[in-house]
């Protein structure tokens, strides 16, 4: 057993137990409240962005939602994009491009530890670019999605949920799920 090094040789402040989180130091300040985009009254004539995070069944889920938004709510255009790294927030260029070409956006499916959190982070980033967003997460990841919203200055940020699991659904079941979440998505996107 090595001898313990001597203690108390360094002058310093009162001998408190130190905080290992860094969150109480002066360099960190609370984030300002994240902005929320203005909602249109309806989706009639709107171009809907679909941001697919590459998780299993995310693409057919969002495709079906896009189809239903056109068929039942009068959306006219769809812009589908893929987020290559599902674990990370969407890159700024992608957010700018979609904000310029779309009126509202649907993003998902958050069904893993990092991608649920980052789907919500993306939703908040789109809102900051004045693009109303509906993030969709599996209901198994509510706590992590809510925690991410708080970190990004949007405590209580609302997103749509679909029951877990999503990855194992058949094509018919995916369409059924998309139809089930449709009204929630529209409510999130419109005033």
């Amino acid at each position: 057993m090595p001898a313990l090094p001597s203690r108390g040789t360094t002058p310093g402040p009162p001998n408190l137990i130190l905080d290992p989180t860094g969150t109480t130091t002066t360099t960190r300040t609370a984030k300002p409240r994240a902005p929320r985009a203005r909602r249109p009254a309806s989706l009639r004539g709107a171009t809907v962005g679909l941001l697919v995070n590459t998780k299993q069944n995310a693409a057919p889920f969002l495709d079906e939602l896009g189809r239903l938004l056109k068929e039942r709510y009068g959306a006219t255009g769809l812009v589908a994009r893929t987020k290559v790294n599902f674990a990370q927030p969407a890159p700024d260029e992608l957010i700018k491009e979609m904000a310029a070409s779309c009126d509202v956006i649907v993003t998902g499916i958050g069904d893993c530890g990092s991608c649920s959190a980052s789907a919500v982070a993306d939703g908040i980033a789109f809102e900051a670019s004045n693009l109303p967003a509906a993030a969709i997460c599996s209901d198994a990841f509510g706590v992590t999605a809510d925690a991410m919203a708080e970190l990004h200055g949007a405590p209580g940020y609302r997103y749509a949920t679909t029951p877990h699991p999503v990855a194992v659904l058949t094509p018919d079941q995916v369409r059924e799920r998309a139809a089930q979440v449709l009204d929630d998505v529209v409510a999130l996107l419109t005033a």
Binding site: P2, R7, T10, N15, L18, P20, T23, S114
Partner: protein, 361 residues
């Protein structure tokens, strides 16, 4: 220390309970860190306390040298371990998974830290039996320090931003000091690009460790087939390729080397022989490929095709650890892929020597 000189147990208990109450603990007691103690950690590095050594963009948090020192102190490290903690953290932050969503993952991956060079003996690392622990302070507390940094400095806590479905045994406790003395091959740090004789740390993330107990044959190829069977199990396959290392016990390594296998030969053999037929993969619902992700494809046309799963030697890292008392090796299932680099230990600041702690070599 006589009983009358021993510290006040009630004060110690109160400090430990204070740390629990703040939510800082990984579940086990922490050493309450004080400014004088942390100053001793900071004195072992020439890096500035406010230097940012890791950043998790998605959660808006970072870790400084100072925060790493506080967490290392709380983990039970001695100050002289701190350069190894910093090198291990640097090595981990070279892993794409550790910079991305790995700490939040449902997979709950564990860092595997490998230490090479003279520092193993200078700091009293266990380099022989029981390599995966427990029982040895540096091997146990250095990976714990990494876990506390992720929890406290990055704010990735279980059930909140950390979403491990089951996690895995050994998370925050795997730190191997390679058994260089009984390994027939060059140290792992050399595979990571460091020169011989340098103290260096390598790190990657693991999804699990699986033993291969083969003390039944003098034929090295039979040992390799046994290892290949474990590497090739379908349960671990989720993408087109995978990465699986082997932590060889000295006996297996020496048997292979004695038969003429260099590390590169072992890697080439495993790359060639690890994999499954299309029928095996289809039976497990993993035969189809969408991009790099596997899925259940009803198509039977590739049933007879053998699919290899280890794309390069870097996907088969080989380490030698443990005692020479039995032929038991460990397959280590890499989460993502190893960066292929080792991080040399920074030199100590002037006028400071790494103390010899006098443990057996």
């Amino acid at each position: 220390m006589t009983p009358t000189q021993a510290p006040d147990p009630e004060a110690a208990q109160a400090g430990i309970e204070y740390c629990y109450a703040q939510g800082w603990s990984d579940g086990l007691p922490l050493v309450p860190a004080s400014q004088p103690l942390v100053a001793e950690f900071l004195a072992t590095t020439s890096r500035a306390p406010d230097e940012v050594i890791g950043e998790l963009e998605q959660v808006g948090r970072d870790c400084t040298v100072y925060l790493a020192a506080v967490n290392a102190a709380m983990a039970g490290c001695l100050p002289e371990y701190f350069p190894v903690v910093l090198a291990a953290f640097d090595a981990l932050m070279r892993e794409r998974a550790a910079r991305g969503g790995g700490w939040q993952s449902t997979s709950g991956p564990a860092p595997m830290i490998v230490v090479n060079g003279p520092v193993r003996h200078e700091l009293g690392f266990n380099t022989s039996g029981g390599a995966f622990g427990p029982g040895f302070r540096p091997n146990a507390t250095i990976p714990r320090a990494i876990g506390l940094i992720v929890r406290n400095a990055f704010g990735i806590r279980p059930h909140v931003l950390e979403q491990a479905t089951q996690g895995l045994p050994g998370r925050w406790s795997i730190c191997l000091a390679e058994n260089e003395e009984e390994s027939p091959w060059p140290p792992f740090a050399i595979d990571g690009g460091q020169p011989a004789g340098v103290s260096a740390v390598s790190a990657t993330l693991l999804r699990t460790c699986e033993f291969v107990d083969n003390r039944h044959t003098p034929d090295p190829e039979q040992v390799l087939w046994d290892i290949a069977d474990t590497i090739s199990r379908t349960g671990s396959l989720i993408f087109r390729d995978t990465s699986a290392g082997v932590v060889f016990c000295p006996e297996h390594a020496q048997m292979l080397a004695g038969a003429g296998y260099a590390k590169a030969d072992v890697q080439a053999w495993l790359m060639e022989h690890c994999g499954r037929t299309g029928a095996d993969l289809r039976r497990a619902g993993k035969n189809g490929l969408r991009g790099i992700a596997r899925f259940a494809d009803p198509d039977e046309s590739a049933d007879a095709t053998f699919t290899r799963i280890l794309p390069s030697p870097r996907h088969v890292p080989l380490v030698v650890a443990g005692a020479r008392n039995a032929a038991i090796s460990m397959v280590v299932r890499v989460f993502g892929e190893w960066s292929g680099t080792a991080t040399p230990l920074a030199p100590l600041p002037a006028a400071r020597e790494r103390p010899a702690v006098g443990l057996k070599t």
